[in-house]
């Protein structure tokens, strides 16, 4: 578990990454409701919603400095 850097909500990293299906082309599929993530400066950050991630994308420094 980790915290969404934008709103502070609890985020279940394992659930975000868990495979919940398979596409017709054979790719592993994930549940969109479990949250999402972003690869930033060589590191993954996890978010409860895509809206939070959009805020992070626009101003990453604001949220990273907030994290300390």
């Amino acid at each position: 578990m980790t915290k969404c850097p934008v709103c502070g909500a609890e985020v279940d990293v394992a659930a975000i990454k868990a495979q919940t299906g398979t596409t017709g082309g054979g790719a592993r599929e994930m549940d969109p409701r479990a949250g999402t993530r972003q690869f930033h400066d060589g590191q993954w950050f996890y978010f409860d919603t895509i809206e939070c991630r959009n805020n992070f994308t626009m101003q990453p420094d604001r949220y990273l400095s907030g994290q300390g």
């Binding site: 990454k17 495979q19 596409t23 017709g24 082309g25 054979g26 790719a27 592993r28 599929e29 994930m30 549940d31 969109p32 999402t36 993530r37 972003q38 690869f39 930033h40 060589g42 895509i50 991630r53 959009n54 994308t57």
Partner: protein, 413 residues
């Protein structure tokens, strides 16, 4: 200069029309419908595969592709005619996408022999993995990284708006291979299967999701995707073109992908649909077609649509003759989507309140086709290179103007 078709081309068109009348059923269109929620790669169902066999036997698949790679070595205009007729019937047989032209231009002999015939037969399909959360119009900002490790590359990062990722067999990916080089220099293109371990797909639902768009909607896809890469290992043979030359290869592919029936018909289809509706027996259509205002508007929009057609013909003729094709496709990609917005709005005005009802609503017109087209028309001004970025390309490449400071970073898309 000849703006028409030859007698042989007219004969080909009527042969294709006859074939479609005799063979294309509602079930087939349903099976191959890209808007339906199906997870099956397009053309891979039993009816689709039978269709590919039938049209392959007639020599109508990959007409303009070289015969050594499974094509017919024929003319682009012939291919265009076949694709146009099938698109009108709701079936996309063209392998729309940047992959095929990029492979032909930059691929190894092995890549051409493997991919081109399979793309033509619909056995393989690519999704376009370019855009990222922080790299859209400014694509050269992309951060998805591919690091060489012996005979392999290891990919980490993510892609956004990867349309068709859930129905494609392969991804055509742009990634950063040199972090130290300048933005446009350290980029490479890779093609590899979607079932490679470490690759995951997450759906993003579009404004066409609920209710789903009716058949024949332009840009009616209910779903696009995000794609994540966690230590995805791919062989170095997945590299397309030279390492770190991906910006050039990718831009060229995108540009060439703007040539042909797939893109053109998206804009003109709406004109054809409303004209057919106005001329049909439907009471609303018949009543509207008597209005002078409606007739005036429809004639004006039809005239605009012919500009799309002429631009497409010009692009095809440049590419067919092997000429330099740079800003012409960008100009087409400005005119066609904006025409699409204008016509969709005008149709809403003509149809009145019923025109804004979505699929499945009582009183919707043609099952909500025109209402769904309005939403699609706005998408087509953004995807595959937004109209603003296309204008920038016309200004720089076509009119020889310098890059504006703000647009220096803005890239191919």
């Amino acid at each position: 200069m000849n703006f028409g078709y030859s007698p042989e081309q007219e004969a080909l068109r009527s042969e294709v029309q006859t074939f479609i009348r005799d063979n294309v059923t509602d079930e087939l269109v349903e099976e191959m419908d890209i808007h339906s929620g199906t997870d099956r790669p397009r053309g891979r169902g039993p009816l689709g595969q039978a269709l590919y066999r039938q049209i392959g036997e007639r020599g109508w698949l990959g007409i303009a592709y070289p015969s050594e790679y499974g094509g017919q070595g024929g003319s682009r205009i012939d291919q265009y005619i076949v694709e146009e007729e099938f698109l009108r019937a709701g079936i996309q047989i063209s392998m729309i996408g940047s992959g095929a032209p990029a492979i032909l231009a930059a691929g190894t002999e092995e890549q051409k022999r493997y991919y081109i015939p399979r793309l033509i037969r619909g056995e393989v399909s690519f999704c376009l993995g370019f855009t990222e959360p922080h790299a859209g119009a400014d694509l050269a900002n992309l951060r998805c990284s591919a690091v060489r490790d012996g005979d392999e590359f290891v990919i980490n990062g993510q892609k956004m708006y990867t349309t068709s990722a859930h129905v494609s067999t392969h991804i055509y990916l742009m990634a950063r291979t040199d972090r130290t080089a300048s933005k446009h220099k350290g980029i490479s293109i890779f093609i590899f299967p979607m079932d490679t371990p470490g690759l995951t797909v997450r759906p993003l639902w579009t404004i066409q999701n609920n209710p789903s768009a009716p058949k024949f909607t332009t840009y009616g896809a209910a779903r696009t995707n995000e794609v994540f890469f966690d230590d995805v290992r791919i062989p170095a043979s997945a590299l397309l073109g030279e390492e770190n030359d991906g910006w050039r290869v990718g831009s060229m592919g995108l540009n060439l992908d703007r040539v042909g029936a797939g893109r053109y018909l998206i804009s003109v289809r709406r004109d054809e649909d409303i004209i057919n509706f106005l001329k049909s027996d439907e009471a609303l259509g018949a009543r509207l077609s008597e209005s002078e205002v409606v007739r005036d508007k429809v004639a004006e929009l039809w005239t605009e649509a012919q500009v799309c057609r002429l631009m497409t013909m010009r692009s095809m003729s440049i590419v067919e003759r092997g000429g330099a094709f740079s800003y012409e496709g960008s100009a087409e990609k400005v005119w066609a989507p904006e025409h699409g917005v204008r016509i969709s709005e005008s149709i809403m005005q003509m149809l009145g309140p019923h025109g804004s009802l979505l699929r499945g609503s009582p009183h919707s017109v043609q099952d909500g086709l025109y209402a769904h087209n309005v939403m699609g028309s706005f998408q087509s001004g953004i995807n595959h290179g937004s109209v603003q970025i296309m204008r920038d390309q016309v200004a720089r490449r076509g009119l020889g103007m310098p890059s504006s400071r703000g647009n220096k970073a803005a890239g191919v898309k």
